[in-house]
């Protein structure tokens, strides 16, 4: 009798995501745009790679012992990914989340079994980072993987995302990913530069709304320790309106239902494709649109105003 291959655990299905050409989105036929569909990971985002890698590394080093409580600042995807890993490996998890993230992200965290601590909505992700660091400092029983400073984050992309792209393609001229912690850009970027030395590594980053920039001074800004901006060749700011236009184009022309950062990345990929005479642009679409449905990005008339008041990636 024929037996079919199967995975022993959902965690074995993390990574090896599909790469698809976005033919209708390329501004010129001589430039191909390919997208890595990270929404196909088990919890629906690229962060599954990071969550598994951080927990594996902490278990291997002996730092994370059975029953210890995990703590992580996150606006959603990393928390949801960690919640899956935590559930299957038997750890309780607390996520520090800006109070104004979408209801879908909050609900998903709860459904996967995470406890939630709210951070001030007007401080964006920086506020979640600050509060999580304070909590970890005050209670040594927490184990904080801390994606912003954990080398397992870029390593997951060096060994996973980057290798997968390098093996799939003979040529990559531009690599575009969203800038959050910097993990994807640092890890996959470094691996791709080994295979394609002339590659341009480009970051797309969100122009934050005034209302989530309520920091006391610029010195309260935050640069993730794993991010080395000198390793980026381009760093492009993408407005909310451009991200929305990008995610609508993705769905309308290609049938790809992407999240907000995917819209931004597609916008940046098209802009960079315009600059090439010919070549291959690879972009990373970090998650699907499901967690943003309540925000009405695909059909509401005036979504930009409401976008200003929350953290999207």
């Amino acid at each position: 009798m024929e037996t079919r291959a199967h995975a022993a655990s959902l965690l074995d299905l993390v990574g090896s995501t599909p790469l698809v050409e976005l033919q209708r989105l390329s501004p010129k036929p001589s430039v191909r745009i390919l997208a890595k569909l990270e929404g196909q990971n088990p919890t629906g985002s690229i962060k599954d790679r990071v969550a598994v890698a951080m927990i594996d590394a902490a278990e291997a080093s002996g730092e994370l012992t059975p029953g210890r409580r995990l703590l992580e600042p996150t606006s959603g995807n990393t928390g949801i990914a960690l919640a899956l890993v935590a559930k299957l490996r038997g750890y309780p998890l607390t996520c520090v989340v800006p109070a104004n993230v979408t209801e879908e992200r909050r609900r998903l965290l709860q459904l996967y079994g995470a406890d939630i601590v709210d951070s001030p909505p007007d401080e964006g992700s920086n506020g979640a980072v600050r509060l999580a660091l304070e909590l970890a400092e005050s209670d040594a029983s927490f184990f904080m993987p801390f994606q912003y400073a954990n080398e397992a984050n870029p390593r997951a992309h060096y060994e996973g995302t980057g290798v997968e792209i390098a093996q799939a393609l003979d040529r990559v001229d531009v690599f575009v990913a969203g800038l959050g912690t910097g993990g994807t850009l640092m890890g996959a970027g470094e691996r791709l530069r080994e295979s394609f030395p002339e590659i341009v590594i480009a970051a797309a980053e969100p122009l934050p709304g005034d209302e989530v920039m309520g920091l006391r001074s610029l010195a309260d800004g935050y640069v993730p320790p794993i991010l080395d901006v000198s390793k980026l060749d381009r760093k492009l700011l993408v407005t909310n309106a451009e991200s929305i236009a990008g995610l609508r184009l993705l769905l309308d022309r290609e049938g790809v239902f992407g999240g907000v950062s995917s819209g931004a990345v597609v916008h940046a990929a098209r802009r960079l494709a315009e600059e090439l005479d010919e070549g291959v642009v690879v972009c990373v679409l970090a998650d699907g649109g499901w967690k943003y449905l309540s925000a009405g990005f695909w059909d509401a008339d005036d979504v930009e105003g409401s976008m200003e008041r929350s953290v999207w990636w």
Binding site: L215, L218, V238
Partner: protein, 90 residues
């Protein structure tokens, strides 16, 4: 004159303005022009003559750190955006 967008955290230093006009052939010159008129900005934007690490400056929507840094030439028609470095990463 280049338009410079000021983030909420710096508006107190510039009398509440969201956007200012400033003169200069390079990003450094534009910042010097601003600091001359609003001296309190200097300590926030610069450290030892370099751009402070928690400050990002964008010219035409691109980070000057991946362009020519403070020496990046500025066209009159271009706009600059000053932003605090923000944690992202979902």
């Amino acid at each position: 004159m280049a338009a410079v967008r000021i983030p909420p955290t710096l508006r107190a230093e510039v009398g509440g303005s969201r956007e200012l006009e400033a003169r200069g052939d390079t990003v450094a010159d534009v910042i010097d022009d601003l600091v001359e008129r609003y001296p309190a900005l200097g300590a926030q934007l610069l450290q030892d003559g370099e751009l402070a690490s928690f400050v990002n400056v964008y010219l035409g929507g691109e980070d000057i750190r991946t362009l020519g840094g403070l020496e990046t030439p500025v066209d009159d028609s271009e706009s600059l955006i000053l932003l605090p470095a923000m944690a992202g990463g979902n």
